[in-house]
Amino acid sequence: MLDGFEILTTSGVVLWSKAYAPVSSSIINGFIKDVFIEEKVLPGASVADEASAAHKPTYKKDQYTLKWATVKDLGLIFVAVYQSLLHLTWIDKLLDNIRIIFVDLHKDQLKKPHTSIIECDFDGYFDQQVRELEGAAEKSPQRAPQTAVDELTPPLSSDNGDGMLPPPLPGLAAATQTGQLRKPVSNGDSTDVSPIPTPDTSRPSTPATHILAGKAGPKSRRAKKALNTPANASSGDETKGRPKKDIRKKMRRWDADGMADDDDETVLDYSVQSPDEIGIANTEISASIEAIDSQSFGTKTGKGQFVLKDLEGEVHSILEGANEKKSQSTSSKGGVVGSSLGTISGLFRNVIGGKVLTKEDLAKPMRGMEEHLLNKNVAREAAVRLCEGVERELIGIKTGTFESIETTIRTAMESSLRKILTPTTSLDILRSITSVTSPSQLNPLPPKPRPYVISIVGVNGVGKSTNLSKLAFFLLQNNFNLLIAACDTFRSGAVEQLRVHTRNLKELSEREGLGKVELYEKGYGKDAANIAKDAVTYATQGKFDVVLIDTAGRRHNDTRLMSNLEKFGNFAQPDKILMVGEALVGSDSVAQARSFNASFGPKRGLDGFIISKCDTVGDMVGSLVSMVHATGIPVVFLGVGQHYGDLRTLNVG
């Protein structure tokens, strides 16, 4: 069973929602953030074709699974939430059908500019779809008619195993046209939400009476309805109840206010026309009505019940219409003249603009763009995925005036790259450090100041020690007291290298009166994690502000060394873990980034990248794009040389 279903716009307004069980809004907020904004890579996500119902991507959070469908040009998102333990196969089809129905019904409203109000009366359609698909999926043995009926129950054309959902409400296109305003979000029919344990209430929403079985029945009922003139000109109302077999049970009779009237002893079994009914029927027939073709308001099901045509027919017609349109568009256009005119106009439009982009149009320019990215040293996997993303965005979009396809693609690619590289939160290291080392005065109970721990990891030879010293120089300029911990106990000369750096920096800082810097080392061959822990305690005692921890380089496919990282992370508890990646690396960058990100255990990941050796590659800085795209982790620093001052931040604009 679904837990909830929502229809929202990309600008954040919820147009319609239905919750069978309470679902907190943070689930959907988190889903939007992760999938659409931050575009975290989903396992097994392929380029989902909008039209296909076969495989919709899923998103899991807590114990919920979410599946969704989008309509790009109108900016709509349809989300279905259900418990992960259940395995519902019909959700994909439901999403597609709901999408088609909703767009069909409310297309005009959605295209209105400068407004966010959509009046939608979607409950009926949704319920009908859910019942239909769920019933088709379940195919459970149908209950015997006797047991299903104690009171008047609405028979469903596809019998449900549970029959829990109350009958659909007559929320129809006609209703919206008659100007009946309903609240766009979960209008007052909230009793739809709670599943009723025994199907004993069939609640009319309008003061209409039941429509019953039997051929003669509808006429009299219809007559009564015509007299009552309900507020809705509805082409269908709730499906009627079955004839009762057991007359002894007290019939529930509904009067005009929708109240159950228990006192009436009248027999409500119309399978045999009682004398007074016949009388009423006769008088009413004479009173008014034109002959109504029974086909127009109902069909006979196999059981001999006369089920009134309700939303179901309308829904099916909408779906069939959509399918027809799709098949028409895919059929080839015939004729030589037609095709040549088509190509000429296509070329014309390419220059002028205003062309609606299809997959074929985009294929060749996209390949060109992909090659361009590969030439700039972006890893193949990242380039392919980027191009797929841009293609997905651009299918079906109209190009602007005087814009060729290439420029459209270029602007789309620019904006998507910018979105990838822009960090979610600000990356100011200085602010983070000051907030930890000297907590703000506004806080009445400041915690004890503790040193800020930064650790540097990476594969062999990317420039960890050099960049660490550059970072140390930068922090010294800001008058922090530094402790450099030499946790690279493996490579010969690592500790000596850091000793030389510390000596230089100490001299510099003494000359200019900056903060103090010290080296903490324990020689070679010891366990890096223990040294890190001791360094942090030493720094706390010595009132240092920042601890910079240098680690040994390790290949990302060497599992033994990578597993040491987790222990290191737990012992040292660094505030920031920065991975150094060099700009010269090729397609290995993605794998490196991913395995380092995963190696710190389930709760921790990298916090930033330092891309080193940027001065050596010129403008072929594609590897930073691939690393960021693969993991979603922002670039904190760029190393542009081998001197102490060659450290920059990334300016995305």
Binding site: N29, I37, S116, T424, T434, S440, P444, R648, T649
Partner: protein
């Protein structure tokens, strides 16, 4: 003979025969219309004043938008795309021009309309907001929404993350406005007031508006001083023309304590007002309506 034929054709064209005049009139009238239809396809309605709604994620911008538009708020989720709606000022709110109008002015009866543009607050999507500031379309004011309850000191102990983010966004916005005012571009209004709207005041952990003002000011001061010490940008070496360009700092020369009154020098007046969109007692947005009315 061909020559004389063409000559005669030309001369007949130039001569004031009725056919020539009719053809000429037709061309003269139709060509501009045709060009207009082809080139200027969508005319923006720039006669209605517009306000921009910015702020960090989760502060209540889209809820405010729906509240203003329909009178009661709708459920909202994280926005990914900007949205512009037409809003009418409630009749009780007075506008800046009302003291100058007589009591019987019929324009008092009609609702004054304005456009309210909502932007996403997420860090990656802030470029929509900044683009709207750089290329304004009849922009009369900016509303910066802050979640006053989130910004008060949390139990975590570290200097509040939400306050920092809000202060950073506000700092960037004010810096952009200052730069724009200093470059003196011919387009764009000369002054652009900013309202810092403290939202969610119905929650008991919310900071009242004056306290929020001092908190933001002190955070911006911190940030400004830290930015001066920060690293150089990676874009510095790329463009040689930039080397001579000095970085601009917010407020008076970037020193000392930052105050919102320092922004008055660049004709950006900052007001701080509180209210709440949701709430047990219903929405209370009267101060915000008043500010909008006075700047309309």
């Amino acid at each position: 003979m061909a020559r004389t034929d063409s000559q005669s054709w030309l001369s007949s064209l130039m001569s004031p025969s009725p056919i020539a005049i009719a053809v000429a009139a037709l061309l003269v009238l139709s060509i501009p219309l045709f060009l207009h239809l082809v080139i200027y396809r969508s005319a923006s309605s720039s006669t209605i004043p517009s306000f921009l709604l910015v702020g960090p994620s989760g502060s209540g911008k889209t809820s405010l938008l729906t509240l203003f538009e329909r009178g009661r708020h709708a459920e909202t989720r994280i926005s990914q795309a900007p949205l512009t709606v037409e809003v009418s000022l409630p009749v009780t709110t007075t506008t800046a021009s009302s003291p100058y109008r007589s009591a019987n002015d019929p324009s008092n009866q009609i609702h004054k309309k304005f456009l309210l543009a909502d932007t996403p607050g997420h860090g990656k999507l802030r470029h929509y907001a900044f683009d709207s500031v750089i290329k304004p379309q009849n922009l009369k004011g900016i509303i910066f929404m802050v979640d006053a309850a989130d910004v008060s000191t949390s139990s975590g102990g570290t200097s509040n993350e939400a306050l920092r983010q809000a202060a950073e966004y506000l700092h960037d916005l004010l810096l952009l406005l200052q730069k724009r005012a200093n470059t003196k571009s011919p387009r764009g209004p000369t002054e652009l007031p900013v309202l810092v709207a403290a939202n969610k005041l119905d929650l008991f952990t919310a900071l009242p508006a004056p306290l929020l003002k001092t908190a933001l000011e002190s955070e911006i001061t911190n940030m400004r001083s830290l930015r001066t010490k920060g690293l150089l940008d990676s874009g510095i070496g790329m463009n040689d023309l930039d080397i001579g360009d000095e970085k601009e700092w917010l407020g008076e020369g970037g020193e000392g304590k930052f105050d919102f009154t320092q922004m008055d020098e660049v004709n950006v007046s900052v007001t701080v007002a509180g209210g709440n969109v949701l709430g047990a007692d219903g929405p209370d947005v009267k101060q915000w309506w008043d500010w909008i009315g006075s700047n309309l």
